[in-house]
Amino acid sequence: MTLVKDTPVLAPSERSSGPAAAKRRGRRESLAGYLFMSPWLAGFLLLTAGPMVASFYYAFTSYNLFTSPQWVGLDNFTAMFEDPRWRKSVEVTLKYVVIGTPLKLLLALGVALLLAQSRRGQGLYRAAFYMPSLIGASVSVGFVWRALFSDNAIVDSGLKAFGWNLGGWIGDPDLVLYSLVALTVWQFGAPMVIFLAGLKQVPRELYEAAEVDGAGPLRRFWSITLPMISPVLFFNVLLETIHSFQIFGSAYVVSDTSCGPADGTLVYTCYLYQKAFKETQMGFASAMAWMLLLAVALVTAVLFWSQKKWVHYEEGAK
């Protein structure tokens, strides 16, 4: 169990004699390598690296698509920090990430622990629980969510039965974000499948030995399961957090394109979309995109830095 890692594969041993022949072969291999990866190379240069440079430049300009970009220095960034809607979008996104991601991962881990016990129907449950991850981002499910969380629909009526008269969440600027949280938690299946695969790799002997030593189930979870699956936990935390920062479609559809009401679902990318494609402030939007990149890079860096302290790699697997 290792994370993103490049284990260099040795080339087939050079078979001809003489350094000149080897050199010629090496050059031919290089040519073949670059030819095979030319689609990716072209894509990387034209659709990733080039646009990144352009985006960085736009971030310091005022650009409306129709006239050429005007250099404005740091104006976009100062305007951004003073913009109450930008700050609102940061607040909404952070709330969504900080509440949604842990809930989703806790549920994923909990259900994975349940399904790790081999019982009848286990495979069927696993498949059914995974299904929302495939359709969760679709417009259709966005429509369903709008319906389920509106006034007097199932969620509202269910909560009323417990004496919580909250009304529909979709129309409530404070509650609507939690319908999006519910939507991401509903898609716990993808991280669950990864947890399950990790749980399967924990050697049985460890549990048996712990049992002989009199360790209870909680102790076994804490001292064996958790450290043993920490690499997959790390992977899930990293991917889910990064993805949550970039949520767009669900917020756009569930809020009926408004990212509201009252900016209640104004997630970061929703505001970026409005700035870029409704107000054609491409410079401002590019500056926003770079702030998002910075935030994601920061989270990634902190997670990678912290993994020394809590992620245990099997010896030899690292």
Partner: protein, 290 residues
């Protein structure tokens, strides 16, 4: 797990209670997971005005008029147009991603060349790069090339292996293939193209199937791409059409919208039912190795 209880005297009864608790919990989770899907199936057979208010999952008197309304299409465009657009987009996306990713993966996994490790790290780096940084300059570029309102901007990245996740999945898979196979082929005088086509590609089939299905589903569900690049209703995908026409005919056709939303889920659910093993195993290995 049950082996652990075998030494305890009350093992039998404890195992039975454990089993009951297990099944009750699993069914409770199942109910929550399936509810929205069952709801939309039921709702598509309800009259539009009954959909939001009623709490019954399935209507007492199911109606089919939502679907017949759907067949009439929207704003004079037959509904089948949107489904065909989505199908074309998803089909071409699959072709593009499978070809470009497998070629790139072969280079990373099977050819030794200068700069390979640096490029591999760059490729992995793009996995974590938020797409939004590229969104605006890509839009500007495609607009200058007058390619907006076509599928080119949506498909260009698929044919140029920008979906690093799938390249990575295939690299991992190809590295796991026994090296003796391609070494033997090389001794027989095969070039890389031959080895790629006749040796590596057939053996990579499971990873290719996983990639193909995920790509199809992602393209089918894709909303942001069509939203930004496609304006002409004739060219809309199903997801975009759902949003474009959601309020045009007023609340009276809400039933039709829900029926279309339900129909849009059918291909994804069908793929899921047919290939769930490939999808779940593909996800699982990506987590373990990646």
């Amino acid at each position: 797990m049950s082996t652990a209880n075998a030494t305890v005297p009350t093992a039998g009864s404890r195992r039975r209670t454990g089993s009951v608790i297990w099944h009750v919990s699993a069914i409770a989770v199942l109910a929550v997971v399936l509810y929205p899907v069952l709801w939309v199936i039921g709702a598509s057979f309800k009259p539009g005005e009954d959909i939001i208010g009623s709490l019954d999952l399935f209507p007492a008197d199911p109606i089919l008029s939502n679907f017949s309304g759907l067949a009439d299409g929207m704003a004079n465009i037959p509904t089948s147009t949107f489904f065909l657009n989505s199908l074309m987009y998803a089909g071409l996306a699959v072709a593009g991603v499978v070809v470009s990713s497998s070629l790139t993966a072969y280079a990373f996994a099977k050819i030794q060349f200068r700069g390979r490790n640096v490029l591999f790290s760059l490729m992995i780096g793009t996995l974590l790069l938020p797409y939004h940084v590229l969104l605006i300059p890509q839009y500007v570029m495609f607009q200058k090339l007058q390619l907006t309102d076509t599928y080119v901007p949506l498909l260009a990245g698929k044919f140029l292996a920008t979906e690093a996740f799938f390249v990575f999945l295939m690299v991992q898979f190809m590295r796991g293939l026994p090296r003796e196979l391609d070494e033997a082929a090389r001794l027989d005088g095969c070039g890389h193209l031959r080895i790629y086509w006749s040796v590596v590609l057939p053996l990579t089939r499971p990873a290719i199937i996983t990639t193909a299905i995920f790509t199809f589903i992602n393209a089918w569900n894709d909303f942001m791409g069509p939203l930004i690049y496609l304006n002409n209703p004739d060219r809309a995908t199903v997801s975009l059409a759902l949003m474009m026409f959601r309020d045009q005919q007023g609340i009276s056709d809400y039933g039709g919208m829900i029926a279309m939303a339900m129909a849009a889920l059918v291909p994804v659910l069908a793929f899921f039912l047919a290939f769930q093993r490939y999808l779940i195993d593909g996800m699982a290995t990506s987590g373990l190795k990646g």
